[in-house]
């Protein structure tokens, strides 16, 4: 099952997601990037049904871009999160999307923030959050070791603790993870944690 988790630190937010693309018992791909860069200072880590995940996050991404083109200014993380929740809520009683989202962003006024948006359109602003079976292990690990003013190094140590716990305790644990960070300098890849490297070329 797909594991997504994230936390907010001192002026930054980090999200990590597994990179397995699974269909029943088959692992089709182990380097699938599930953390989308929504715009220059926002990340969306999504887990859920394969079609819904890509289609819904791309839909949100295009609408966020449209707002920027129309108004000359980017949406704040809070506004983007509320927009996303609104779209999930509208579709919920007709044609629901099965996507769980952790939206991380950095705004000049609000600083770094993390929003927990689940598939039935729950929205919470949180310091740390997680989805999937991995959440059973990562949430308590984060609860134990998290402090509100962690540095990037301390936060990465905590993320690695969570990844290690998921790898060692979850029966069908995903082998590889991707970690992305967003801070005042923007949203970008931080690292990949790969225990199974594919034989071929770089990640797609």
């Amino acid at each position: 099952m797909e594991c997504v988790f994230g936390l907010v630190g001192n002026g930054f937010a980090i999200v990590a997601a597994d990179t397995s693309a699974v269909h029943s018992i088959l692992l089709h791909k182990n380097n699938e990037d599930k953390i989308m860069v929504l715009d220059s200072h926002k990340l969306v880590a999504a887990s859920g049904e394969p079609g819904d995940r890509v289609q819904f996050t791309e839909y949100v991404q295009k609408n966020v871009s449209l707002y920027k083109f129309r108004n000359g200014i980017s949406l704040t993380t809070a506004a983007a999160a509320n927009f996303t929740r609104g779209e999930l809520a509208t579709a919920l009683r007709k044609n629901p999307y099965s996507v769980n989202i952790l939206m991380a962003g950095y705004d000049d006024e609000a600083g770094a923030s993390l929003y927990y948006i689940d598939y039935i359109a729950t929205l919470h602003k949180v310091d740390k959050g997680a989805f999937g079976y991995g959440s059973y292990f990562s949430l308590s690990t984060m609860d134990r070791h998290y402090r509100s003013d962690m540095s990037v190094e301390e936060a990465i140590e905590l993320v690695d603790k969570c990844i290690l716990e998921i790898r060692s305790r979850l029966v069908v644990a995903p082998p590889n993870f991707v970690i992305k960070i967003v801070d005042k300098d923007g949203a970008r890849d931080y690292a990949w944690r790969q225990s199974v490297k594919d034989v071929t070329t770089a990640a797609v």
């Binding site: 269909h23 791909k29 049904e49 044609n95 034989v199 071929t200 070329t201």
Partner: protein, 205 residues
């Protein structure tokens, strides 16, 4: 390199051993069929139409990424309505070779190798252990043929003819089409057994 078997089954009944599961969308793009035969044939034909329209509207060939996205979006709009399509879109465009896996849930994955269908785990086993990114065309076509053969050996819903196609800068070409029953004896020939005791003909009395 694209390969497929040619068996169609309805439950336990084999309805055909000669189904064309590699669909020629256009001279430089192929699609494979897994799941519902009608759905795959129809939607691949529909994709071919959309690709041709793209060529006419934009005066250039559609990319493999674009074609697979068109198909994924079409299938996504029918999600929950019972379509059954597990397909790979393989082709050549200006970025080089492209391979995408697209299914009826709207999922779309870019990759270097995929296996789809009921026999896919068996094919993955052979494919993964023999694969190298820089293998030659001959090695790759033999690996593809072997993967299909081994899948047909173990999976009841796979069989018939193993077709292998090559996709290159000039487009696709069909490399081979071998009956898997014959392939079996080609790979595992039966050595003549040494009889320990032979029954002799009784003489007429």
């Amino acid at each position: 390199m694209v390969a497929a078997d040619s068996r169609a089954s309805m439950g336990g009944y084999i309805s055909s051993q000669s189904v064309k599961k590699i669909i020629e969308i256009n001279p430089y793009m192929l699609g494979t069929m897994a799941g519902g035969a009608a759905d795959c044939q129809f939607w691949h034909r529909n994709l071919g139409i959309k690709c041709r329209l793209h060529e006419l509207e934009n005066k250039r060939r559609i990319s493999v990424s674009g074609a697979s996205k068109l198909l994924a979006n079409m299938l996504y709009s029918y999600r929950g309505m019972g379509l059954s399509v597990g397909t790979m879109i393989a082709g050549w465009d200006e970025t080089g070779p492209g391979l995408y896996y697209v299914d009826n849930q709207g999922g779309r994955l870019k990759g270097d190798r995929f296996s789809v269908g009921s026999g896919s785990p068996y094919a993955y086993g052979v494919l993964d252990s023999g694969y190298k990114y820089d293998m030659s065309v001959e090695e790759a076509s033999e690996l593809a043929r072997r993967s299909i053969y081994h899948a047909t050996f173990r999976d009841g819903a796979s069989g018939g003819v193993a077709s292998v196609y090559h996709v290159g800068p000039e487009g696709w070409t069909k490399l081979s089409g071998d009956d898997v029953g014959e392939l079996h004896y080609h790979y595992y020939p039966v050595a003549p057994a040494i009889a320990e005791q032979v029954m002799e003909e009784a003489t007429a009395e």
